[in-house]
């Protein structure tokens, strides 16, 4: 399995816009959003805005960077 990222802007209704679509073997499995300054201490971390199939998790952690998020997504897909 290989993950592929595609940068996008997501209309979250907030300042959080910088995002990445995450594809696994060509399928969209997650949308990651980078948290803006409005989240203060969490600004710059990555949030699982949406996860599909096995990546769906209401209690996913925040990720320090995209690599960490990809590692977590890979674990979910194992």
């Amino acid at each position: 399995m290989s993950l592929r990222l595609q940068p996008v802007q997501v209309a979250t209704g907030s300042d959080d816009a910088e995002s990445q679509l995450v594809f696994a073997d060509g399928f969209l499995v997650a949308v990651l959003v980078c948290l803006s300054e409005q989240h203060e201490a969490d600004a710059g971390k990555w949030f699982l805005e949406a996860g599909f199939g096995r990546v769906d998790d209401l209690n996913a952690p925040l990720f320090a960077d995209v690599d960490e998020a990809q590692g977590w997504i890979e674990q979910q897909l194992l």
Partner: protein, 271 residues
């Protein structure tokens, strides 16, 4: 964490046993108008002077309980009824992964279920969210209260309102957007706190954290933060130093489709 929880429960039970050790004795004349339990029940049913004296006496053995202390945990045998005189407490359940859902707030004047002694074990936990003043009402005192017809009727009505509120919260998490959920919660708290004299017009103390609000409205802390910002951006609320000010109540109610009937507060609900 489990050890800590057991420790705080043991501490609470010891405090409850040592009645008066940290008890808060209050002047009964000033208390009559300020006691939130009495204020709440009198709103439901007219009470006699004798009923009022009995209800005020219930509040005499109040204890100061720090924030984030479990009063009773899921699975425990019921330990009487907890009445909140000051602060915010909640009913909650935990998932195995630690995720928490808050099912109800207990604000001043609110108590647990008066029929809880019928159950063998608690099906949920009750915890303080902020520093609280709490009374544990013993089972024998509950029996005495329920033997007074007007008091019993007021307590039953209070239970009906708790159930109606739970239905409204279910509608909230199931069928409202994040911003609407939060707007609805703030409209409700404004009325409930106003009914027990804990508001200054449109401003009230909201001693809750963002994770508390997120666990109440069934959303992540990220969505909670965005939703608070959106309500601010629309000029509907201001939240500073744990005080919430509703800047435009009609618009906040319109956004939430808030109809106060389920709180059964009478005329005040329309205010």
């Amino acid at each position: 964490m489990a050890i800590l929880a057991r420790h705080v429960i043991a501490t609470m039970r010891r405090l409850v046993r040592e009645k008066g050790a940290r008890g808060i004795m209050t002047d009964s004349t000033s208390e009559a108008s300020g006691n939130p339990f009495l204020r709440k029940l009198e709103r439901f049913v007219p009470l006699s002077d004798e009923d009022r004296v009995v209800l005020l006496k219930v509040s005499e053995n109040a204890q100061a309980v720090p924030a984030r202390t479990d009063l009773v945990q899921e699975g425990d045998p019921p330990a009487g009824v907890f009445l909140i005189l000051e602060g915010f407490a909640c009913r909650y359940k935990l998932r195995a992964n630690g995720a928490r859902q808050i099912m109800a707030y207990l604000v001043p004047g609110d108590a647990g279920d008066f029929d809880v002694a019928l159950l063998d074990a608690m099906d949920h936990s009750i915890s303080t969210l902020s520093d609280c003043t709490v009374v544990r009402i013993a089972p024998e005192t509950i029996r005495d209260l329920l033997a007074r017809p007007a008091v019993a009727a007021a307590l039953r009505k209070s239970t009906l309102v708790d159930e109606a509120t739970l239905r409204e919260w279910l509608l909230n998490v199931g069928r409202r957007t994040a911003v609407e959920r939060l707007a609805h919660l703030f409209c409700e708290l404004h009325l409930r706190l106003s009914a027990v004299g804990r508001t200054d017009e449109y401003r009230f103390k909201l001693p809750l954290t963002q994770p508390d609000l997120a666990d109440t409205t069934g959303m992540t802390s990220v969505h909670l933060n965005r939703s608070l910002m959106e309500l601010r951006r629309q000029g509907l609320i201001e939240l500073q130093q744990r005080h919430l000010t509703i800047l435009d109540l009609p618009r906040l109610r319109e956004l939430a489709e808030f109809k106060a009937g389920y709180l059964h507060l009478g005329d005040q609900a329309a205010a």
